[in-house]
Symmetry: C2
Subunit: 302 residues, 2 copies
DNA sequence: TAAAAATACTCCATAGGTATTTTAT
DNA sequence: ATAAAATACCTATGGAGTATTTTTA
């Protein structure tokens, strides 16, 4: 008993006529006759009470007709649902993101994805970089928004946007009136520094930049997130180097300066486990790229 | 997408291993691999994320696995139910019967059938002979207990029991002390007669018997059913010829006499529409025959 | 007599088998 | 090195087509 045979039998009962049923199925009448005979043999049950000219449906046949209809509907529905799931139009997507995204592509990407795939359930989780990488690797997180590069062969990444570094000082700082600074001018300044745990990538980058400029920063305060860094700087605790996203904040006592050394910008990307490129992940990645294209960093100190 | 393929896919997911799945399905591993690949092609969906060594199930695959399980369970259940319906172990059976059965095989047949097929719903309908024949012909009644012969090519019959005719007189009758009568002795008696409508077969038989004995009966009263006939006779309204079932009644003023002419007995049979020999009908017929075999007419005036 | 199902036969698509290759652990 | 999936190639079952027969309404 397979679905094709059930379709055949359903057609015969529905049409009440082998010839018309065969036509509606797009096959010839003799194979249809044979398939129904075979079905009856296989089940060991008489489904149709025949004469050479017509037939009527036995009680067992009526039962099968009723059940077959439900089974076929269920199979069709399943096929459609699986197709949709395969294209990522439905299902559940666990999205991990590091805090920095809050002010960049996350809102746009989520809004676009929700609009494009309303049937996908999104589970958004803000996480620390290291936990996010682990989550992606062990499958707890389907897709992550975090800063590449990540040294994990198991993960694949696409870079979405680049954010230049800016130098931050408070409005009372001696350099506050400048539009551009040399990193060397910060050599003896107290630093508000991204923590190694909360933002290892930025931490490393800032340390490198300082080293390249010829000094080791004196760290007055650690902070995990860009908004905390900005508020500490605005409070006069120290200077900082931070991605241009800081311009999203409206902090009167904060000044953002261009860096004459032009350090390489920070990247933000979308990552997923190699081999988990399901429709959901592919779709989210695509939508995130679209969101990144139209994303405009706020005016960079024009 | 057919049931076989779904069984294959379910086995692969359940076992987590193509080789073991193939073994559990009783096929070789390569065809299983190919069938899963074909299923993915047909659906246009990646169900398993493979390496050459192992695989994991994609979200779409998990969805299909879950749905396939339900579909397969439903199909198996349907197959079992249809088989049962085909053997007549389940379903609904409309049984028509003429009143005479009330005192003969009906109780035994129904009790046995209920015991043997507890899942069959019985719809018992007492009907007049003519309506029962019509009901059998048009399909409203599945199986009937009535007196053959019936001149309808559309119906098939099996005779269950034979009931000898007895002569009935009231206890004050001049022949009441006899054990045997000649039909000719009733020539001038008033008759309680089965009506032509209610019991056409017995009516005809009684008229024939009288004619053969050389007289036309003087009909004092008509009655439709054996119990009515018996009570009229017991009331002294007239004599009657009736099947031996009358001995089922405990009527003090009723005498049942043997008929020396030994008329052919009346038959009672089970009938069904030719070509409606469904499992239900076959089973009922068989059980009715079994009931008839053990049926013992009450002591015939020993 | 006409129309419908059943049968006879032929063909080919495809499921399944065996042998072998590839690759990940 | 081993074990697991994939591939190559072959066979044969059986599903579908055409032509024809049978039957009954």
């Amino acid at each position: 008993m397979d679905l094709r045979t059930l379709r055949y039998f359903s057609a015969v009962v529905r049409e009440g006529h082998f010839g018309r049923a065969a036509a509606s199925l797009g096959i010839a009448q003799p194979p249809l006759t044979r398939q129904i005979q075979k079905l009856e043999r296989d089940l060991g049950v008489s489904l149709l009470q025949r004469t050479r000219k017509k037939f009527e449906v036995t009680p067992a046949g009526r039962l099968l007709y009723e059940r077959a209809g439900r089974l076929l509907d269920g199979a069709d529905q399943t096929e459609a649902d699986v197709r949709r799931a395969g294209t990522g139009e439905t299902g559940r997507l666990v999205i991990g993101f590091v805090h920095s995204n809050t002010f960049t592509i996350l809102p746009g990407a989520v809004a676009r994805f929700r609009a494009a795939y309303p049937d996908v359930e999104m589970d958004l989780r803000e996480m620390r970089h290291d936990n996010l990488v682990a989550g992606l690797e062990n499958g707890g997180i389907d897709v992550g928004l975090l800063r590449p590069p990540v040294s994990s062969r198991a993960l694949q990444a696409v870079t979405l946007i680049h954010e230049p570094f800016l130098a931050l000082v408070w409005s009372g700082h001696r350099l506050a009136a400048r539009r551009t600074v040399q990193l060397g001018q910060f050599a003896s300044e107290p630093f508000v520094m991204y923590s190694r745990i909360g933002a290892p990538l930025i931490h490393t980058r800032v340390m490198e930049m300082c080293k390249r400029a010829g000094f080791a920063p004196r760290i007055a305060q650690y902070a995990d997130q860009i908004d905390t860094v900005a508020s500490f700087v605005a409070a006069g605790i120290g200077v900082a180097l931070a991605p241009s996203t800081v311009t999203s904040f409206n902090m009167p006592s904060l000044r953002c300066l261009r860096i004459a050394d032009r350090p390489a910008p920070l990247a933000m990307g979308v990552m997923w486990r190699t081999g988990n490129a399901s429709g959901l992940v592919r779709n989210f990645t695509r939508v995130a790229r679209e969101a990144a294209v139209v994303w405009r960093p706020l005016a960079l100190l024009d």
